[in-house]
C-alpha cells in the first residue's frame, strides 16, 4: 500500500487526532472508566512495566509470555509446513492420492481449526501438545491448499518440454512442477503463519498457564484493560515481524524469473 507522500501531514494529523480523542475520553472527560479504556499514558506505563520485568497481574514477565507463545506457535507451524506442503504437492501430482485424500480434506476444511481446541484439550490436557496440535492443523490446511493450487498451475507445455528431453516423472515434478508452484507455496507459508498465530492466541485464551493469550485473559478477569491493550499490541507486532521475516526469506529464495 504505497502512495504518494503529498498528504503526509494528514497522516500525522490523523494519528495525533486519534491519540487526542483517546486522551480526551479517558483522562480529560473521563467518559470511559479506566477498567474499560485506560488512558494512552496508562497503557504506555503498563507496557514499560511489563517490558522491564513486571510480573503482575499474571505472574510472569512479558518476555516469558512471548517465549512460551513463540515456542508453541513455531513448533506447531513447523510441523504443519513439513506435513502440509508435501501432502499438497503429492495430492496435486499423483491422481490416486488426490482421489483418496481430497474427499477427507474437503470434509475437514469447512471446520475452523479453532473448533478442535476443546476436544484436543480433553485429549491432551492444557499443556503444550493440545496447543501445538491445533496450530499444526491451522497451518497445515493453508499449506495443503496453496501447494496443491501451485502445482496445478504447471503449464502443460513445460511438461511436454521436459518429456521430450527424456525427463522422468519425478524429475518433472522436482524440476518443473515444484519451481512453478514455489510462489504459491510461499503464499501458503505466509497465510499459514497468520492462521497459526491466530490459533495460538485462541488456544491460550481458552486454556493455558502462560503465554500472551493467557496474559490478556488474566488481565480481563482482573479488569486490567491497560495490560490487555499491551498484550494485543505485542501480539500484533510479533505477527507482523514474523511475516516480515518470511517476506525477506521469500525475496531471497523465490526465483526472480517467475514474477514480471
Amino acid at each position: 500500500m504505497k502512495r504518494k507522500k503529498k498528504y503526509l501531514w494528514l497522516s500525522v494529523l490523523s494519528v495525533c487526532a486519534a491519540l487526542g480523542v483517546w486522551e480526551l475520553v479517558t483522562d480529560i472527560l473521563q467518559l470511559m472508566p479506566s477498567y474499560m479504556l485506560p488512558s494512552p499514558a496508562a497503557v504506555v506505563e503498563a507496557f514499560i512495566y511489563k517490558l522491564t520485568g513486571g510480573v503482575n497481574p499474571d505472574g510472569a514477565t512479558l518476555w516469558q509470555h512471548i517465549s512460551t507463545s513463540l515456542k508453541i506457535a513455531l513448533g506447531g507451524y513447523t510441523a504443519g509446513v513439513v506435513i502440509g506442503v508435501p501432502l499438497g504437492i503429492a495430492m496435486a501430482w499423483y491422481k490416486k492420492v488426490d482421489l483418496f485424500v481430497k474427499p477427507l480434506f474437503d470434509l475437514l476444511r469447512p471446520v475452523p481449526p479453532l473448533a478442535w481446541i476443546p476436544l484436543l484439550i480433553l485429549w491432551f490436557g492444557i499443556g503444550y501438545s493440545a496447543k501445538v496440535a491445533v496450530i499444526f492443523l491451522s497451518a497445515m490446511i493453508a499449506c495443503v491448499v496453496n501447494s496443491y493450487a501451485g502445482i496445478k498451475q504447471t503449464r502443460q507445455v513445460h511438461i511436454w518440454v521436459a518429456q521430450t528431453f527424456g525427463a522422468s516423472d519425478l524429475e518433472i515434478l522436482f524440476r518443473v512442477a515444484i519451481p512453478t508452484a514455489w510462489p504459491m507455496i510461499f503464499t501458503g507459508l505466509k497465510t499459514s503463519l497468520g492462521s497459526a498465530w491466530m490459533a495460538l492466541v485462541a488456544a491460550e485464551l481458552l486454556a493455558s498457564t502462560s503465554g500472551l493469550g493467557y496474559m490478556i485473559q488474566m488481565a480481563r478477569q482482573m479488569g486490567r484493560a491497560d495490560i490487555i491493550i499491551v498484550g494485543m499490541f505485542v501480539i500484533g507486532v510479533i505477527g507482523s515481524l514474523m511475516s516480515g521475516i518470511l517476506d525477506l526469506l521469500g525475496k531471497k529464495f523465490v526465483h526472480r524469473g517467475g514474477s514480471k
Binding site: V161, R256, G257
Partner: protein, 255 residues
C-alpha cells in the same frame, strides 16, 4: 538439388479426432502420409488453426493417433524422446531458470555430467548468438531472443529431428525476418532434419527444401512442392513471387 538421402521419419495414414464438450467428435487430421529425409528442411504449410499442431504433436510422441503410425528410423514412435526436439509456438522456456539453465536442461535430464552439459549448452548458446546472456532470465529477453533460447535448447539435446511449431508466430514482422535468416544460418551450420509448421507463406517459402500444403479441418495433404531456390533466398525474387502466387492459388478453398 538434395541428393536422395535416407528416410528418417515416416508417417502412414495418420488421423486424429477430438471429442467436443457436448460429446460429438470432430476430425482435425484425416489420413496423412509422408516421409522426411535426413537433413531435409520440411515445411508443413496450411491455412487456419486446424491440424498442424496436432500433427506435430503426433510426430513428437506427445499425442497418439487414432489411426496410422509414425516411424522413426523404422521404429514406431510411442512416447516423446530426446531424439526429436521440439521448439514451441509460445516460448515454452522455464521462467525460473536462466538461459544456461534452460539450454542445459536436456543434457542434464539425459544424465550427462554438469560440466559436459554446460559445455554443450555454451556451444549452442554461442551458435544462436546469445553469448553473454547465459545468466539472464527469460523475462529479461526480447521475444526474438527468447525463441533463440528455445532453438538452442532444442538443439542441445542433440536430436536427429527438430520439430518447430510456428516458433516465430508471435514475433513482429521485422524480428520475424531476422529470425528466419538466423534459423537458416544455424541450420546450415548444424545440419539437422527440421519439420517446421507455419501458416505464413513467405516464411514457408523462405525456409523450405520441400513444402507440404495442408488443407484446413480436417487437415489432409493437398500438394507437395520441392522448393529449389538457391539460399540465401530473396523475398522479392521473381521466382519466389511466382511460387508464392501459385501456392496461394492452390490454397483458395474455392478451387
Amino acid at each position: 538439388m538434395e541428393p536422395a538421402s535416407q528416410v528418417i521419419l515416416q508417417c502412414e495414414h495418420l488421423s486424429r479426432s477430438f471429442r467436443r464438450p457436448d460429446g460429438s467428435m470432430y476430425q482435425v487430421l484425416g489420413d496423412v502420409s509422408f516421409s522426411v529425409h535426413e537433413n531435409e528442411f520440411l515445411v508443413l504449410f496450411g491455412p487456419g488453426q486446424c491440424g498442424k499442431t496436432t500433427l506435430l504433436k503426433l510426430l513428437a510422441g506427445l499425442d497418439r493417433p487414432d489411426g496410422g503410425t509414425v516411424k522413426m528410423n523404422g521404429q514406431p514412435v510411442a512416447a516423446p524422446a530426446p531424439s526429436r526436439g521440439v521448439v514451441y509456438q509460445t516460448t515454452a522456456l522455464f521462467p525460473w531458470m536462466t538461459v544456461m539453465g534452460n539450454v542445459s536442461f536436456g543434457p542434464l535430464a539425459q544424465g550427462l555430467s554438469k560440466e559436459e552439459s554446460r559445455r554443450r549448452a555454451q556451444y549452442f548458446i554461442d551458435l544462436v548468438g546469445l553469448h553473454g546472456f547465459e545468466n539472464h532470465y527469460p523475462n529479461q529477453l526480447s521475444g526474438g531472443m527468447q525463441q533463440r533460447v528455445g532453438i538452442a535448447r532444442a538443439y542441445c539435446s542433440n536430436p536427429q529431428v527438430l520439430l518447430m511449431d510456428e516458433p516465430f508466430g508471435h514475433l513482429d514482422a521485422q524480428t520475424r525476418y531476422m529470425m528466419e535468416e538466423e534459423l537458416v544460418r544455424i541450420w546450415q551450420e548444424e545440419k539437422r532434419t527440421v519439420i517446421f509448421v507455419t501458416n505464413n507463406i513467405e516464411e514457408a517459402l523462405y525456409l523450405a527444401d520441400r513444402l507440404i500444403l495442408l488443407t484446413d479441418c480436417p487437415a489432409v495433404i493437398r500438394r507437395e512442392y520441392p522448393i529449389r531456390l538457391a539460399r540465401p533466398r530473396d523475398y522479392v525474387d521473381p521466382e519466389f513471387l511466382h511460387l508464392r502466387q501459385e501456392i496461394s492459388r492452390q490454397m483458395d478453398p474455392a478451387q
